[in-house]
Symmetry: D2
Subunit: 436 residues, 4 copies
């Protein structure tokens, strides 16, 4: 195994330069021989800009030996790959913006992972991901799919239940929380250990250890005193101290959608009116980023990428690949099948938690039962997720309707019906599995 080929599906993403930078830093441990960038024909311009930038970045470090190829079909890219990174966006940013506007039409959260937006995105994305995974099964059966594609938990579960491809899901929320908590404690990243358990974009930090000492209560106290823990794409709505102390754990930023729904909705509506929805803002950021990327003198990741939102993605992805490739047994927080780690969830339900990662994949640490209130929300959201997967895989309207009714951000029998028809109509180009 002297070659190491990584395929990047959605290679034209503005995040790719961050990944390339991370690869260059770890080239000793991850001796990549080929990067295969794959994108759709409609994204040809972008992926070619990225490919050229990647080559300039590699050249700057004397790594011309790394082949960079561009593909508009899957087969050649996947064949021979050891890792297949999926970071695609079906319908691209306009579809995301349409989801957000559709949510707001019903006075519902339209955000792209947890609300109506996440539901619509799952329906669009799962058929495409299944197609990729089935190609991986056939053309590169030993390869690992490293999935960033949102909603990452749902997509990873759909693939791991409906195909034989090996897949691990990733998100930058856990590592971002790790950095933020370490900063708050003024401690080095490695001196802080966190115990995560939950679902993607709905994960709690149950314990914070600083140099072996349990400092969870101290971190909660600081958060109660006004320290914030957020990410640059989610508004810093502070948590009521009594709530944080009652929960006794640290919610992730996305928990705000569930526990501060009205405030978040008001914020989304105001932002949409004033600055455009999140997707509409991102489109502007992306436009500017690609102008920079196209500059033939640029041969490193530009500073501006950090405003885009996906900080540390590169770090988690490459640490994961490093742990698998070198069979390290590293402890990482990823999305993988439960296998009993959290009580009350099916063995094949994908969760987000601390895992040991080695050449055989991710092995979750047993967590036990979540405290009552977290258990309740997790059951509810996982039920929504599984209904969404059934809907997306089988084109089943009945499951789709129940998914919306079960999603705590919709939860209305009256709205679910017309909302579902709107979602199906708006995305008809991407939903061959549904008969309209």
């Amino acid at each position: 195994m002297n070659t190491l080929k990584i395929a990047i599906i959605g290679g034209g993403s503005s995040y790719t330069p961050e990944l390339v930078e991370g690869l260059i830093e770890r080239i000793e441990e991850l001796p990549v021989s080929e990067l295969a960038l794959v994108d759709v024909e409609a994204g040809r311009e972008k992926v070619e800009i990225i490919a050229a930038l990647t080559q300039r970045m590699l050249a700057r470090h004397g790594l011309e030996r790394v082949t960079v190829s561009v593909h508009f079909a899957l087969d050649d890219a996947i064949r021979g790959a050891q890792f297949v990174l999926t970071q695609l966006r079906v319908g691209q940013l306009p579809a995301r913006a349409a989801d957000e506007r559709l949510g707001l039409k019903y006075r519902l959260i339209g955000q792209e992972t947890t609300g109506v937006g996440g539901f619509a995105k799952a329906l669009r994305t799962i058929p495409v991901m299944l197609d990729i995974a089935r190609k991986v099964e056939r053309l590169a059966p030993d390869a690992w799919i490293i999935n960033f594609t949102n909603p990452a938990g749902i997509v990873t579960e759909a693939i791991s239940r409906y195909t034989k491809a090996k897949i691990i899901g990733l998100c930058n929320v856990p590592i971002s929380m790790h950095h933020m908590i370490a900063n708050m404690l003024e401690a080095p990243f490695d001196a802080v250990r966190l115990r995560f358990a939950g679902l993607n974009h709905m994960v709690w930090v149950h314990q914070v250890m600083h140099s072996g000492r349990d400092v969870t209560a101290e971190v909660i106290d600081r958060l109660c005193d006004g320290a914030t823990l957020t990410m640059n794409n989610i508004k810093e709505e502070p948590w009521p101290p009594a709530f944080l102390r009652a929960v006794g754990a640290i919610p992730c930023p996305y928990h705000r959608y569930f526990y501060q729904t009205q405030e978040m909705l008001a914020e989304e509506m105001a932002a949409a009116a004033e600055r455009g929805t999140r997707a509409e803002q991102v489109m502007q950021v992306e436009k500017e980023l690609f102008e920079l990327y196209a500059d033939p003198h640029l041969d490193s990741k530009p500073q501006q990428l950090s405003f885009r939102g996906g900080s540390f993605y590169s770090q988690v992805a490459l640490e994961l690949i490093r742990a698998i490739h070198n069979n390290l047994g590293t402890q990482l927080v990823v999305n993988t099948a439960n296998r009993g780690a959290i009580h009350g969830l099916a063995d094949d339900a994908v969760i987000e938690t601390n895992c040991i990662v080695d050449a055989q994949g991710a092995h979750p640490l047993a967590f036990g039962r979540l405290p009552e209130s977290m258990h309740a929300l997790t059951q509810q959201v996982k039920a929504y997720e599984r209904l969404t997967i059934e809907a997306a895989v089988h084109g089943d309207r009945r499951s789709a309707l129940l998914a919306l009714v079960t999603n705590p951000l919709v939860a209305s029998a009256k709205i679910a019906g017309p909302l579902l028809e709107d979602v199906l109509q708006a995305n008809s180009a991407y939903l061959p599995q549904f008969t309209l």
Copy 2:
């Protein structure tokens, strides 16, 4: 065992005449020798009116041999009883009305069992019920507590987990649904069998059998065509047909609070503005009823009681007592500990489902796993219930806050704090377990 003594805690309730009527009808199989009516000192006038009416009703049927006693303390009433019926209301109707108004203040459902009202009522009621149960443990350890007191599921679970008293919880929702479905099918009550499983005031009919034939889909079709299934204290908000067909089961009327929250809230607000809240309306009905009851010529249950809302309570209570007293092994729908009947709930979680009832109590039929969307709601509501029980038993504010956050009708970290303080303040006379 030649005597059969029944104690009725909350004997001054306007429902008691219905119970007495049912007893008279079944006197052969339930040879009652004593009815001990218990109430609080503040309810002296009412309970004495009821006792006198009861005696007149008995006399009319030549049953003067049945002793009717009135008590303002528990011990004498409980001692020697085989059955202790609990149908009390701590704080009486004014407390219920205050709960409803408090809910509306926060634009939340204030209804007395599922919303904020149910939460406040549980906090008020559980300490009183624990006191009764501990007296039963000591003074009548073989007696069965038959609990009607709302929120019946929560109260029954609190008692069965925290005392050794034998208890079964009752509700008139299942029997009312049974009558309504039989009417809809133009079939005799006994020709129709229903399979219930869920929680109190959140129970589904999973299967309707008519003379051995599964007619569930037919009943759903009729409901979709506009037949209604409701109770006279809940507005007949029709279910969207697509929702009913997707669920594939028949929701109980109270499900509307969970799946049509906004519509129900709007209705509650309009009614409160126009006619007063439900409790305020009931106070008027009660006033009129007691005027009738006090008439020394009245010696039977007046027609007007049927407007009060608790139809069939008498039927379910007395069928239950009959099955226990005569060791019948009858199939009844009651509230009892799960013991594995519904997957994913603790053995000691109280559920509402078909049970075999004999002298040893209620034995639930195994149901298996609820379909995904019902499982999700059940997990959420049961978690709320258990947090509420912890709060009520231990006076624990942390559990109380998490209970409100977990209740899908509140579900807001921002509102839960001030709302909880309001509840505790308004009910301080009834909440010795909490330190204010």
Copy 3:
């Protein structure tokens, strides 16, 4: 549905007259129009004797209107049937005798349901039963299979997991224990209620109620004082009192194989040497029975049948059919899928327990967790059963070997291998699913 057709697969069994007698007694509630007796060509003589006797028995009661047909193929018998009774014996008594002798060769219990004999019988029987069930699926999809064929628990589970046919398994052990305990208490059968939970031929009575009073401890005391509880085909090895009191429940007679293995083995060996194995003895009894049955003057069940061993089979079978046919909701002890009734067993694991039986089948009462020592044995035996089913259905030697190692009556890695080869060799005519 004015016709009621019952097909009896294995109609030439010596038990059939008992069944016919029971049908005649219940003809009002079970208005049978046709009895279709099916057997293999090799059993032609027997089944024709039975058919003629059946006709004489019916005639004696003026029931000539009931058609009695004889079949040597399944299709015509099954088509149009509402009930299909399976009481067949693949390889007939010689195969059973061979099993018993094979067991003894290895100094192991060879008994036809629990030991090596049960294993061999399961391998022989399951393919034949699958064939019947698939015919029922196709030709009489609404029919219920009522299975007596041993090992009844294993066979019922195999059919219910691997086909869509509706099946309930039956055994005369629970009803025999019921009769024996009622006799011991000098109480009428109906005044005694028993709570059974376990597996077929490994079931405990957890509670005995006499007229609503729990008399379990009293029954155990009597058993400790020397009262016996056995069946005429199992030796009355008394239970040590300390053991019975520690268990706190009443084991079934077959529990002796598990808890008194050495004593039972010694008994089996002595009997085999002196009187022949059980099958060899039964062959003699059968011979005599059929001589009686052939007598053209005989028109009722002869007394001698009661020595055959299957007492009360007719009662349980016909009460079950009556409950289903008339949608009664009767409480009966049958073998059906667990669905959570006993903790720690799969939903599709067939158990033996109290069920409510109506037109929709058998609904087990939730039992909860078995006490520790019973839980252990049940897990072990059920694992053996499931491995045996895998072996029988798929012809999988690996599962077969693990089944034997897991069976507590074998439990030896050294013996399992040669024993398995002997079983496969001896039964090769009946095991098309295995490649030798």
Copy 4:
């Protein structure tokens, strides 16, 4: 925390020099300041020999700064300790020899951990260990108990369920298997990773990875070809290849007691007749060892200790202490509470499996469900263990009897009674919890 005090209960054990040697090798990472050796008065001579040898060994490496103290009471030894190692033997080797002889009297395995010997040892040991743990709770609440005392799984579970002391159980079986498999593969220890899951002395290796490659089947093939995997205190009875291939995992040496019971019993009986029981042989080895230890010129671990049987104990103990003390997150195989790691076992059931160990203790990796046959044996043995714990903690004869009946190496209702009385009689000096 500049001091690191380790208390060794049972400090007079012949194994202690191995532990001391290991400490000296790791003194940089485990800067021990005090070793407190505790033993009973009857063991004074031995513990003083060990203390003197320990001091000589330390002095040889210039570590006179490490204090070595000897105690015959717990309090002073425990106070201030960070780690409390328990390696005691109640009744010492004569009690073990008596157990072995008692087992053989009944033709049962008398071995000190799995058979009758393990049962008797648990009854003797648990009260003493509870006493130690309660002292640790009070005097050194942050200390970790590292338990080697057999039966290690049972003892660890008893302490972790009945006290608040922090405890991890250890055994040298997993590391010995690791060494043996690495040798078989001619691979360095660290290049081989094993996935263990099961119970103490009943653990399987489910997967062998060599440099990231799954070589489980290859290892099984080698074992089938005659390679052995055993420990010097268990006879090398080879596994039948068909059994190993069917199991698809690697049993630990002690599995022979369960799957080759008759062969192991025959071997025990022959050895007892020829060479004495294992304990009798060990007494001779120990005598010779202590003669060596007493030599004032000896200042290192003598070669002869390796014949004693506990190889690698020192390695596992010190790697565990190192991982906790330095908060390393190392993957080790230890005995700890299940918390869902293996399906079907209680959260507080102690299992033996791969764990991540850091300053907060041991966190098991989720394993999921054991294959059917392993699941069955594990359920049976864990039930035996839990009944034994109940018996030992509460002096409950009923649980004790059921424990013996449930132990697959006894499993007889007839033998269990007299055997139990013999065990209680023979150990009456050590069983204050039982009334005789």
